[in-house]
């Protein structure tokens, strides 16, 4: 929006330019206000509709919950906890499992991605096996991990790590393959060793791909942790959801879902910050400049 108005303002000088800039700024502000109005309006319609339909009995709140009930349940959970420890403690368990799994999966994904992307031999040997493991429905792995490692945090971390690993791995691998040939040749001629090439050329170049994958990867880490907890746990949000489900308490399920969404959004925000820092060298793309 601002980009379309700036060029037309360019030929105007002095006062004209200043007023054009002010107009562009006003237009930008108006647009932001409109966007927020739209967002809040949509939330009001959805939540209000939900509340209204359940109040009028068109939809049964016993099965589908009710916004006001979810809110009450949420406060109740935070104040009184669950039968297996405080709500905070359960949240922390899940965050911990997701974070450790995420870190482990991301690091191994990058290491394997870079190694296989670098070496034709390694990728030819390991490629089929990685595809095979990737083809296994990962939820099944959850059962195996629980059988093998009990109902502590280890199987959840492993499941989260496996889910994260494949996303990051394929992206890192592709990123390494896309490294500019000229830049690679340049580094070689300048006398770079293999390790220096990886550090100064290959990893920074693949980072665009890797970071893009981290966004969706954290969501998968949470899924891994939750599924592990539903399958068998002593603490965690997955267990809270499962218990609520067994008690026919949809409000409890929705309240926990809400907390999970907040966690994922928070992680997303952090990863966005990281991306901004690590990829600050990138020219802003025109679509990015217009984005929120």
């Amino acid at each position: 929006m601002s980009t379309t108005s700036t060029p037309s303002a360019a030929p105007v000088t002095g006062n004209g330019q200043a007023s054009a800039a002010a107009a562009a700024k006003r237009a930008a502000r108006r647009r932001i206000a409109l966007v927020w109005a739209g967002r809040l309006g949509l939330a009001a319609v959805v939540l209000g509709g939900w509340q209204a339909f359940t109040t009028w009995g068109i939809v049964d709140p016993f099965f589908f919950g009710q916004p006001s009930g979810i809110w009450k349940r949420l406060i109740d959970l935070f104040q009184h906890g669950t039968e297996f420890g405080s709500f905070y403690q359960n949240i922390w368990t899940t965050i911990q499992e997701a974070l450790v799994g995420f870190a482990a999966g991301a690091v191994t994904g990058v290491v394997f991605g870079v190694a296989l992307g670098q070496s034709r031999f390694l990728s030819d040997v390991l490629g089929p096996y990685i595809k095979m493991v990737n083809a296994i429905p990962r939820i099944v792995l959850g059962s195996i991990f629980i059988v093998a490692f009990g109902i502590g945090v280890t199987p959840k971390i492993l499941l989260a790590a496996v889910l994260v690993f494949f996303i990051v791995f394929f992206n890192a691998f592709q990123g390494v393959r896309e490294v500019d040939r000229n830049i690679l040749a340049n580094a070689k001629v300048l006398g770079a060793s293999q390790l220096q090439i990886i550090r100064h050329v290959i990893v920074p170049s693949a980072l665009t791909w890797i970071i893009a994958s981290l966004h969706s990867a954290f969501g998968f880490a949470i899924v891994g942790a939750l599924v592990g907890e539903v399958l068998g746990a002593q603490s965690g949000l997955g267990l809270v959801i499962k218990t609520a489900q067994n008690n026919f308490d949809p409000n409890g399920v929705f309240a926990t879902m809400f907390v999970i969404a907040v966690i994922v959004l928070g992680a997303e925000w952090l990863i966005g910050k990281l991306e901004h820092r690590l990829l600050s060298w990138r020219p802003p793309s025109p679509s990015e400049a217009n984005l929120l």
Binding site: I183, N186, L190, G191, P283
Partner: protein, 286 residues
């Protein structure tokens, strides 16, 4: 780095330095396997020599294998037949003391201007502090003081070429390979940068192979101009340019009668090849 400087300043060591900078290309042939599985001969028996400290320009029609030749001189690529010798030793792996300015942009987009120029010394294990000082010095020499912290995408095309030039020269190479370094620049910037290049070359005195499509540029800069035939490339003629040095400004030298005479001779030799190459590609697309 320090030893390199010694080599450049001490006259006796200078002789050794110069001697191992001779480039001998003999019978160089390169074949590629095309995707269709046929053998394509890009280069056929290319032979020429670049004396130590000599500035050699290579001209030839597009697609005749100039870049391919450079790949083998630098050691990035292997010949199918024939050999490249640098200082009497056959090239095997990356040639020692070589710097390369590529046809396409080869700066690291994720490093600043300073970071890009620093690459050579860092890769060679020069201590960080010393490397930084010398990178700043080279940026000053190419006129980019004050742009150290910019990223390549924040520079103009001409400035990026200057950065590439500083990054190539900071290693004080004994062999400098340049593949149409100023090809994408406007005429005025090109003339200014060519003059600058001559000045810097006279300071370090590496042997240079310089590819260009611009005959004026070739004659103005070089001691020797190699004309290549259209594909498969081979050497058609070699011209020794006897214009006195230092040549000064590249814009002014092109009005000297001797310059015009040489330029004309080379163009007569090259024209036939360019026309043939053009007819072939035009025929191919029609």
């Amino acid at each position: 780095m320090a030893s390199r400087n010694d080599v450049a300043t001490s006259p006796i060591a200078g002789e050794i330095h110069r001697d191992n900078a001779r480039i001998e290309i003999s019978g160089l042939t390169k074949r590629f396997l095309t995707p269709a599985g046929e053998v394509f001969t890009a280069l056929q028996g290319v032979s020429f020599t670049v004396e130590p400290g000599q500035f050699c320009a290579v001209v030839g029609p597009t697609g005749c294998g100039k870049s391919t030749t450079l790949g083998m001189v630098s050691g990035l690529d292997r010949p199918s037949e024939g050999s490249v010798k640098v200082g009497g030793r056959e090239v095997d792996g990356i040639t020692d003391g070589v710097s390369f300015m590529f046809q396409a942009d080869a700066l690291l987009p994720w490093k600043t201007v300073l970071g890009n120029v620093l690459m050579g010394p860092i890769f060679r294990g020069v201590p960080k502090q010393q490397a930084q000082a010398s990178a700043r010095d080279w940026l000053r020499r190419v006129g980019l003081t004050g742009f150290e912290d910019r990223y390549p995408h924040q520079l103009s095309g001409g400035m990026r070429k200057r950065v590439a030039m500083a990054a190539a020269l900071i290693n004080e190479p004994k062999i400098l390979i340049m593949d149409e370094p100023f090809g994408a620049l406007d005429v005025q910037t090109k003339a200014i940068m060519s003059t600058e290049l001559l000045g810097l070359w006279e300071q370090i005195r590496p042997s240079v192979i310089f590819i260009t499509h611009d005959l004026d540029e070739a004659v103005a800069l070089a001691d020797r101009v190699v004309v290549m035939t259209s594909s498969p490339g081979s050497v058609k003629a070699v011209f020794d340019i006897d214009l006195p040095r230092p040549r000064g400004s590249v814009q002014e030298i092109r009005f000297q009668p001797r310059f015009i005479e040489l330029q004309h001779q080379i163009w007569e030799t090259l024209r036939e090849e360019v026309e043939r190459a053009y007819a072939r590609t035009a025929g191919g697309t029609a």
